[in-house]
C-alpha cells in the first residue's frame, strides 16, 4: 500500500531554491524528485506580485510569479519529457530517516503523504533541503494583550490580499520595516486601507533602501524609527495598539506610550529558516543564521563520515533578501548533489574534504558558508551581512593563514543588504586553519 520512489537526488521544497536545485541536478544527469507541500510550484513567490525580482540574474525587473515561472516552466517541461525529473505536489514530508544501501552508503528515506498519491516513501542518495523560512509572530516579539482577530504576519496579509482577494482591515499599523512589511504597507495603501504608519524598533530601516523609497516615501506613509508596538487592544477584533519609543537597547521607554486606533496589525518582524527536517536528521544549526552549517556547495559540514549527502540551500540556509542569490545557492547545491549521487552510484569514493572554517570577525552578523572545502578548488561564493550600517562604506578582507585571499571595497554597507563575494579557493594557503572576514575602514583597503 505504501509505494516507494527511488531517485538519485531528492529536493524538499519547490520554491525558488528547490526549483533551481532540481533543474541543476537534473541537468547534471541525476534522476531528481521534488517534494512540494503546496499544490503549485513557486513557493512564496506566488504571492509576491510586486516587481523587482531577477535584476541580478536576468537584468530585468520581474514580478514574483514571473520569476518563479521561468524555473517552474522548465521543470514542467522536463517532467513531461521523461523520467529525469519528477514532482510530487501537495506532498508533505512526515518523517525523514537514513537507510544503509547494499554498498554500505547512506540513502535518505522520506515518508510522505499527499492527497493524490496517498502515503509513499521517496528515497535518494542525495538530499537537498530547500525548505525556505517562516515568519516570526507577534508573541515571538513579545507583544502583549489579548488575542483578537486582526493580527497578521506580513506574509499572511499578503496571501489574503494577493491570492484570496481579501482585505485584512480598514486601518492598519505595520510593525517592522522588513521588506515584506514595506511592500505590504504599499499594497494595503493601494487597496484603500489607511496605513497609519510603519514602526521599527531599530534606529534604521530593516528593509532594502529601495523599498523604503518606493513603498513608503512615494506614498507618504510615515516610518517611525526606534518605536515599537508593545500591546494589542481588543478581545474579538483589534481596536488599537500601544506604541512606545525605545532606548538604544530596544527597551520601551516608560511614559512614551501612545495609543493608536486601528483594526489591523501587520507584523514584519523577521524570518526564521525552517530546518525541522534538517534537525530531525541530526544537523546542528548555526545560531547566527539558524540554518545548518555547510561548505561552499551547500553540503552539510559536520559529517565526520564522508558519505553524508545532505545539501541545504536558499532561505533554509540563511534568510536572503534577493531571490537571485537563492537561485544561485540552489544551483550550486543541486549540481553538487547530482555529482555526489552519481559518484555513490558508481562506487567512486567520495574525495576527502578539507573543511576550513570561515570566521566572520567583528562587525559582521554572519558569513555563509561556514566552511570552505579547500580540496574542491575553483571559485567559492561567500555571502555576508554586517551588523551595523557603515554609511561611509568599508573594505572587506578575506584572509587565511596570513595571506589575503581577497579584498573588496564597498561604498556603503548595511545589515539589510546581504553582500556577495567570490573567492579563489586556490588562494587559501595549504594547511590553513581558518578563513577570516575582516572589516576595515575605507582608507585601509585598495580594492581588488
Amino acid at each position: 500500500m505504501v509505494s516507494r520512489k527511488d531517485y538519485d537526488v531528492l529536493v524538499v521544497g519547490g520554491g525558488p531554491a528547490g526549483l533551481s536545485a532540481a533543474l541543476s541536478a537534473a541537468e547534471n544527469g541525476a534522476r531528481t524528485g521534488i517534494i512540494e507541500r503546496e499544490d503549485r510550484l513557486g513557493g512564496i513567490l506566488k504571492q509576491c506580485v510586486h516587481d523587482g525580482f531577477g535584476l541580478v540574474r536576468f537584468g530585468e525587473q520581474l514580478a514574483g510569479p514571473e520569476y518563479a515561472r521561468r524555473f517552474a516552466d522548465r521543470v514542467v517541461e522536463a517532467t513531461s519529457k521523461g523520467t529525469v525529473l519528477a514532482t510530487h505536489l501537495g506532498a508533505f514530508v512526515h518523517a525523514a530517516r537514513r537507510e544503509t544501501c547494499g554498498d554500505g552508503g547512506v540513502r535518505y528515506v522520506l515518508e510522505c503523504v499527499s492527497r493524490d498519491e496517498g502515503v509513499f516513501v521517496a528515497a535518494a542518495r542525495s538530499l537537498v533541503l530547500a525548505t525556505g523560512c517562516r515568519e516570526r509572530t507577534d508573541r515571538q516579539v513579545f507583544i502583549h494583550g489579548e488575542r483578537p482577530a486582526g493580527v497578521f504576519t506580513a506574509g499572511l496579509a499578503q496571501h489574503l490580499v494577493n491570492i484570496e482577494g481579501l482585505l485584512p482591515g480598514h486601518r492598519a499599523v505595520i510593525l517592522g520595516s522588513g521588506d515584506i512589511g514595506l511592500i505590504m504597507a504599499r499594497r494595503l495603501f493601494l487597496e484603500g486601507v489607511e496605513v497609519e504608519g510603519v514602526y521599527e524598533i531599530k534606529s534604521e530601516p530593516s528593509g532594502l533602501s529601495r523599498n523604503v523609497r518606493q513603498c513608503l516615501e512615494d506614498f507618504g506613509i510615515p516610518l517611525n524609527l526606534s518605536t515599537t508596538v508593545t500591546a494589542v487592544h481588543g478581545d474579538r477584533r483589534v481596536q488599537g495598539v500601544t506604541v512606545a519609543s525605545v532606548d538604544r537597547r530596544g527597551t520601551p521607554i516608560p511614559g512614551s506610550e501612545r495609543y493608536v486606533e486601528c483594526d489591523t496589525l501587520v507584523l514584519s518582524v523577521g524570518l526564521i529558516p525552517e530546518n525541522e527536517l534538517a534537525v530531525s536528521l541530526g544537523l546542528a544549526l548555526d545560531p547566527a543564521t539558524r540554518g545548518p552549517r555547510v561548505d561552499q556547495e551547500g553540503r552539510m559540514a559536520e559529517a565526520e563520515r564522508a558519505d553524508e549527502g545532505i545539501f541545504v540551500c536558499g532561505n533554509a540556509l540563511h534568510v536572503n533578501d534577493l531571490v537571485d542569490y537563492v537561485s544561485e545557492s540552489g544551483e550550486q547545491a543541486g549540481r553538487a548533489a547530482a555529482l555526489f549521487a552519481a559518484a555513490r552510484r558508481e562506487g567512486v569514493p567520495i574525495p576527502e574534504r578539507e573543511l576550513i572554517p570561515v570566521k566572520a570577525g567583528s562587525g559582521f552578523l554572519y558569513a555563509v558558508p561556514q566552511f570552505i572545502d579547500r580540496a574542491r578548488g575553483g571559485k567559492a561564493v561567500l555571502y555576508f551581512r554586517v551588523n551595523a550600517t557603515r554609511a561611509e562604506g568599508g573594505v572587506v578582507r578575506v584572509a587565511s593563514g596570513g595571506a589575503t585571499v581577497l579584498k573588496k571595497r564597498y561604498a556603503v554597507l548595511r545589515p539589510p543588504e546581504m553582500e556577495r563575494l567570490e573567492i579563489d579557493v586556490a588562494a587559501v594557503p595549504e594547511g590553513a586553519t581558518q578563513i577570516s572576514l575582516e572589516l576595515a575602514d575605507k582608507g585601509e583597503g585598495d580594492g581588488r
Binding site: 492527497r115 496517498g118 509572530t137 508573541r139 489579548e146 482577530a149 499572511l156 482577494g165 481579501l166 485584512p168
Partner: protein, 584 residues
C-alpha cells in the same frame, strides 16, 4: 463579639471605609478601598473565621467597574452582518417555552463533565454556554496538568476531589478517545535543608491520599532529567501526576454528552432565574426562557453572579490570573517529567506557583503565573508575567525564552476560602453549585461531576422517576488523529479519503480531512479557534501564518459562507473585513 473583632481587623487592614455584616451564615464585606490590593487583603482576612463563606462586595476605587461586571454573550454587541460563520443571529428565541429536567449553566470542563454524567440517566438536560464553543475560558487557558493531589491543603474539598479526579481521568480519557499520560511530577530540592523536608512532604501526601511518592537522590534526578540546572539535592517524585489536553478533553466531554442526548446550547447567555417560593421555575436566557426542575451552577468566573440570581450568594469570587507560555515542540526532547522548585512553589501562598509541564502534544508549557487582578475575562498578558515565567525556564538548561511559540492568560475563579463550593443550595430547593473551581479544577472535574450529578439526581428524584439511560454509550467515536497512526494505517485511510492526505497545518501536521471532521462533528467547530481546540491546526510554531487561509477555505465551504465571513472566535472577530478592488 466575633463580628466586632473581625470589623476591627478589617479596618486595620483595609481602611476605615470597610465594614462587615453577617447574612445567613456568610460574612458580607462592604464599603470602599483605594486599591485592589486592600480589597484582596480584606477578603483574605475574613476567610476561614467560622463563616459559611465570604462575600466581598468592597469596591476598590482603582477598579470600580469590577464590582458590577456582568457576563456578556457571544452575540452581545455583534451587529447584523457581523455574526460571521453563518451562525445564529441575535433575536432568535429557540429555547422559549421549552422545558428541561436539568439545566447546566456553563460549558467549561466542569459543566461538560456534569452534563455527560447526567446523560447516563433518562432525563432531559440542557447545557448553556454563552460563547460560540465550549472551553472558551478557563478550561482552555490552563496547563493541562492532572495534579497528583499533593499540593492541596489536607482536609479540603480540593484535596479529596483532586485525588479522586486524578484516578478517574485515566479510564475517562480512554472512553473519550483523548490522550492522557502520567509523566509524574518532580519537586526539586535545591538545598540540603529542602531535602530534609522529605518526611513532611511524605506525610502531607499520605494525608491527602496521593497515589504514591518517592524520594529521588540527586543522582537519580540527574539520571531522569539530565538538563536540570544547578546544584540540586534530589527531588520528591509523584508518579501519579498526569497531563491531558484541557480543551480537547472539554470538547470530548461535551460531544459525548451530546451524543447521549444532552442539548448543548451555544451562544446562549443565561440572564436570570424565575422563582416561585423556594424553587427556580424558569431559566431566563437571551435565546428564550424555559422551565426547569433543577439547575446546576457551573458558571466558572460568573458562578457567584449566578448564585445571586437565586438569592444564594454566600460566597464571592476573586480572580487569579495565570499566564502560560508554550515552547516549541523541540523543547519536549529535553524533559520528561513535570518539574517545579519549592522556592518557586512557595512564592505565592495560594498556588503551586507553576513550573515546567510537558504537554500531550510534546511541547513544554511554562507556568502558570498567579496574579490577583480585577477582571473576570481579562486575558491580556504583560511583560512582568513573562519575566515571572523566565525563572521557571531557568530550571532546564536546554530551554530558553526564545523557544516561545505563544503565551496566553487564564483566570481562575477563587473563593476567599480557596476551596471548591460543591453543594446544593440552602436557599432554593433545586440549585446545585459547582463553584470556585480553581486549580486543580481540571484534575478534579470528573470527581466533581460524579458528586454534583448525584446531588442533582437526589433533588430531581423527589419529583421525577429516574431510570438509567440504557442507550448510554461511554465510548466516543474519537476523531482521526493521523499523527498517531502507523504509516500503513495512514495509507489505508488516505486511500479511502484522500482529504486525509492533504496536510493543511504543517507545524502540527493536520490534514484537511481532520479539519472537515471537526466542522462536521456533533459539536461543530465554526471558527479558527474552535478548529484549533479540536485538531490544533494553527497552534504550532508558525502559529497559523501558513495555514490560516486554508482553514478559512475549509470552514467557508463546510459552513456555506463567504470567505470574508469566517471568524477567529465567533461574532465580531472576522479575519478579513472586506475584499480587494480586483475581487470586489
Amino acid at each position: 463579639m466575633k463580628l466586632e473583632k473581625l470589623r476591627e481587623g478589617l479596618r486595620r487592614i483595609a481602611g476605615r471605609d470597610v465594614d462587615a455584616r453577617e447574612d445567613r451564615g456568610a460574612i458580607v464585606l462592604e464599603g470602599e478601598t483605594d486599591t485592589w490590593e486592600a480589597r484582596l487583603a480584606a477578603g483574605y482576612f475574613a476567610a476561614n473565621r467560622g463563616y459559611r463563606g465570604v462575600v466581598n462586595d468592597i469596591v476598590a476605587a482603582e477598579a470600580p467597574w469590577a464590582a458590577t461586571e456582568q457576563p456578556r454573550g457571544a452575540l452581545t454587541g455583534a451587529g447584523n452582518g457581523d455574526v460571521g460563520n453563518g451562525d445564529v443571529a441575535s433575536g432568535e428565541h429557540p429555547l422559549e417555552g421549552l422545558s428541561f429536567d436539568v439545566a447546566v449553566v456553563g460549558g467549561g470542563v466542569v459543566g461538560c463533565a456534569i452534563a455527560r454524567e447526567l446523560s447516563k440517566w433518562r432525563i432531559s438536560v440542557i447545557l448553556l454556554e454563552k460563547e460560540e464553543d465550549v472551553a472558551c475560558h478557563t478550561s482552555s487557558r490552563n496547563d493541562g496538568m492532572i495534579h497528583d493531589g499533593f499540593a492541596a491543603k489536607p482536609g479540603t474539598r480540593k484535596a479529596a476531589y483532586n485525588v479522586r479526579g486524578n484516578r478517574l481521568w485515566e479510564p475517562l480519557a480512554r472512553e473519550l478517545g483523548i490522550e492522557f499520560s502520567r509523566p509524574g511530577s518532580i519537586v526539586i530540592y535545591e538545598s540540603r535543608a529542602h531535602a530534609a523536608l522529605y518526611p513532611a512532604f511524605a506525610s502531607r501526601a499520605a494525608k491527602n491520599g496521593v497515589d504514591g511518592w518517592e524520594y529521588w537522590s540527586a543522582r537519580r534526578l540527574r539520571a531522569e532529567e539530565p538538563w536540570v540546572t544547578g546544584d540540586q539535592h534530589g527531588a520528591f517524585f509523584l508518579p501519579s501526576a498526569g497531563i491531558i489536553s484541557p480543551y480537547k478533553a472539554t470538547v470530548a466531554l461535551a460531544e459525548s454528552a451530546a451524543a447521549n442526548g444532552v442539548r448543548i446550547s451555544l451562544f446562549t447567555l443565561a440572564t436570570g432565574f424565575e422563582r416561585e417560593g423556594n424553587r427556580i421555575t424558569h431559566v431566563r436566557t437571551d435565546r428564550g426562557n424555559f422551565s426547569v426542575k433543577v439547575v446546576v451552577n457551573a458558571a466558572g468566573n460568573w458562578a457567584d453572579v449566578v448564585a445571586g440570581w437565586a438569592d444564594d450568594r454566600f460566597f464571592s469570587l476573586h480572580q487569579r490570573r495565570g499566564t502560560d507560555m508554550i515552547l516549541d515542540v523541540q523543547s519536549g526532547d529535553f524533559q520528561r517529567h513535570i518539574m517545579a522548585k519549592p522556592s518557586l512553589l512557595q512564592a505565592r501562598t495560594h498556588t503551586k506557583g507553576g513550573g515546567l509541564v510537558p504537554t500531550v502534544e510534546g511541547n513544554i508549557l511554562v507556568g502558570p503565573t498567579a496574579n490577583e487582578l480585577p477582571g473576570r475575562e481579562l486575558y491580556a498578558t504583560s511583560p512582568a508575567e513573562i519575566r515571572q515565567l523566565e525563572r521557571h525556564i531557568g530550571l532546564n538548561l536546554k530551554l530558553s525564552p526564545s523557544m516561545a511559540i505563544t503565551y496566553f492568560a487564564g483566570v481562575r475563579p477563587c473563593t476567599w476560602e480557596e476551596d471548591f463550593v460543591i453543594e446544593p443550595s440552602r436557599r432554593v430547593a433545586n440549585l446545585v453549585h459547582a463553584a470556585g473551581i480553581q486549580s486543580p479544577g481540571l484534575a478534579s472535574a470528573p470527581a466533581i461531576a460524579e458528586d454534583v450529578a448525584k446531588m442533582t439526581l437526589d433533588i430531581l428524584g423527589t419529583s421525577t422517576r429516574i431510570v438509567p439511560n440504557t442507550a448510554f454509550r461511554p465510548f466516543r467515536e474519537a476523531p482521526v488523529d493521523l499523527r498517531r497512526l502507523s504509516l500503513e494505517e495512514r495509507a489505508k485511510l488516505v486511500a479511502r479519503r484522500p482529504e486525509y492526505g492533504r496536510i493543511v497545518c504543517r507545524c502540527e501536521e493536520v490534514s484537511e480531512g481532520e479539519i472537515r471532521d471537526a466542522v462536521r462533528a456533533p459539536l461543530s467547530a465554526r471558527s479558527l479557534d474552535a478548529v484549533k481546540r479540536r485538531v490544533r491546526a494553527g497552534m504550532g510554531r508558525c502559529h497559523g501564518g501558513f495555514c490560516t487561509p486554508r482553514v478559512m477555505e475549509i470552514l467557508a465551504s463546510e459552513l456555506g459562507v463567504e470567505l470574508s465571513e469566517v471568524t477567529k472566535k465567533g461574532p465580531g472577530s472576522r479575519i478579513a473585513l472586506g475584499e480587494t478592488k480586483r475581487r470586489a
